[in-house]
């Protein structure tokens, strides 16, 4: 009796379950396809619309009312300046903060507060940083709608990325190396500068490049700061007004006149090429250091 009961309750129905397995597998492949097809169409659309507008003049011209004469020169220089200022501001401060948290910080409430705070800053919408720049750097400190303001705002925006990746790089340095240095009588600062940071440099650089590539593509906070000015000069100093590539692209996307949509696509190609080469450098650094540590 007991056997018969169990037999009736346990029905393997294997063919049907296998069919369900096939259905599920198909759905999973479909979801992968949504992602890949989305990516491929996006890139194809940009290339199809934009390649025709690319020329040497597109790089070296200023923006213009006439799409045939418009170019990204001012935006390209604005982006270069913003990147430089962002780098000078975010990297020393970000790496310093990472060193403090990994090498100096006692386990207390202040440290926990700083850590929690960095995690939350990473999730603040970028436009809110734009409002911060608007209120603090422009209104309060009177720095104007300049490259300096833009670079510092962007520096604050990407700093959590620099801190988080630098901390990982610093944590990856074996503690035996630190202990060996301490054992030889090195002070904490000597250990940081002579042992920890040199080994963490590749990791810090990868994180820095990630942070910079985030900064290159950000448009929202830059619009809040730079506003939409028609810039027809390449900036020559940190107190100049500016435009950057994403703002220029946004301007062109917004322009309903004939030809400007193609210009936007061409601008996007320039932006993506800059981004891709930065990421390629990051991958190169990573691969090079990985093989070295295996030797």
């Amino acid at each position: 009796m007991a056997f018969a009961d169990r037999d009736r309750r346990f029905r393997p129905r294997l063919p049907r379950r296998k069919q369900w397995g096939t259905v599920v597998y198909a759905l999973l492949v479909l979801s992968i396809l949504v992602g890949i097809v989305g990516l491929v169409t996006l890139i194809a659309q940009v290339l199809l619309e934009g390649v025709g507008w690319l020329s040497l003049g597109f790089i070296t011209n200023f923006s213009s009312r006439f799409p045939e004469r418009a170019g990204v020169w001012a935006a390209l220089w604005g982006t270069v300046w913003i990147m430089g200022i962002t780098f000078l501001f975010a990297v020393p401060v970000g790496v310093g903060a990472a060193v403090y948290l990994e090498e100096y910080a006692p386990k207390n409430r202040l440290t926990r507060l700083i850590e929690l705070n960095i995690a939350n800053l990473a999730g603040v919408p970028s436009i809110v940083y734009g409002l911060l720049g608007l209120a603090v750097f422009i209104s309060l400190l009177g720095l104007g709608r300049t490259l300096l303001t833009g670079g510092m705002t962007m520096g604050l925006l990407v700093m959590p990325i620099v801190i988080i990746s630098s901390r990982e790089a610093i944590r990856a340095v074996p503690s035996t190396h630190r202990e060996a240095a301490y054992g030889l009588g090195a002070t904490r600062f000597q250990v940081v500068m002579g042992v920890v940071l040199p080994q963490a440099v590749p990791g810090i650089m990868t994180g820095t490049i990630l942070a910079m590539s985030r900064a290159i593509g950000e448009a929202a906070p830059m619009i809040a700061i730079a506003a939409l000015t028609f810039v027809t000069f390449a900036p020559t100093g940190p107190m100049d007004r500016f435009t950057v590539l994403p703002i220029q692209i946004y301007n062109w996307v917004q322009d309903p006149r004939e030809g400007f949509s193609g210009l936007a696509a061409a601008g996007i190609i320039v932006l993506l090429v800059v981004l891709l080469s930065m990421n390629a450098i990051a991958i190169l650094i990573r691969n090079k250091t990985q093989t070295r540590s295996e030797e």
Binding site: V29, V93, G96, E218, A227
Partner: protein
Amino acid sequence: MASTNDTNQGQVPRFSLGRRRKGETTERLAHGLFLAAALVSVATTVGIVLTLFVQSVGFFSEISPWEFLTGTEWSPILKDENGARHYGVLPLVAGTMLVAVIAAALAIPTGVGIAIFLSEYAPDRVRKVLKPAIEVLAGIPTVVYGYFALTFVTPILRTIFPELIIFNALSAGLVMGLMIVPMISSLSEDAMVAVPRSLRQAAYALGATRFEVALRVVFPAALSGIVASFILAISRAIGETMLVTIAAGATPRMTLNPFESIQTMTAFIVQVSQGEAPRGSLEYNTLFAVGLLLFFMTLGMNVIGSIIVRRFRESY
């Protein structure tokens, strides 16, 4: 460091009192500088909160918070036909949520599907190609997504729904979904990879098929991480700016109709700030009131997300 190696062997190292004191000063200075660097991040948060609150005071002294939070009409810049301006933020909130819900409707099934595929099905070789390819989506600047929505997705949708207007919530929401897919897929995959092998092996030993292991064993075990990824991704969608500014329109409207033109909170901030609103004007202060609401909405979601990850993480 070099000086330590150079010390001649057999010779007792001499510590002069002066050098030692100088070294201590360096040590203290370094400690102070590193601490100061760490405190910059705290100052940033304090700066953001203070800025938003202080600037909003000017706004809330003229408009009551109650009117702001419950009003269903938003026209702070243009006067309506009766010459009045309205400061009810709900249309902006509704527009923001509408786009976020459309994005989530696309991104949640897709992202979870990709995560299950990568963690349970894909062989290593396939995974090594697909995972970075999906993550490229996360690195594309949002202004590019805006361009894609406006010049590609909207025209296609308009051939299917001829009544669709150019700037609409549907197109922006769908492209936003594509944008947040990698966030959901990588966070969910991390959660699923963390489920121990022994659980899967036990299920296989009981005769479970592959999809049963994936859906009934691994998925529930990783659920907290997966749900957290939804919350973090939606918070990202709420804070996203350029895509909705370009593709969703600039018409604040209380609607759940995805075919209509709407305005999100972020798009409103861009619209006002690109006009260089004069400092101290009510218009300028409106920016910060909306920014304050946006900040707390995303902060709240991020905090909930990280609490779920920490509190409900299954430890094996």
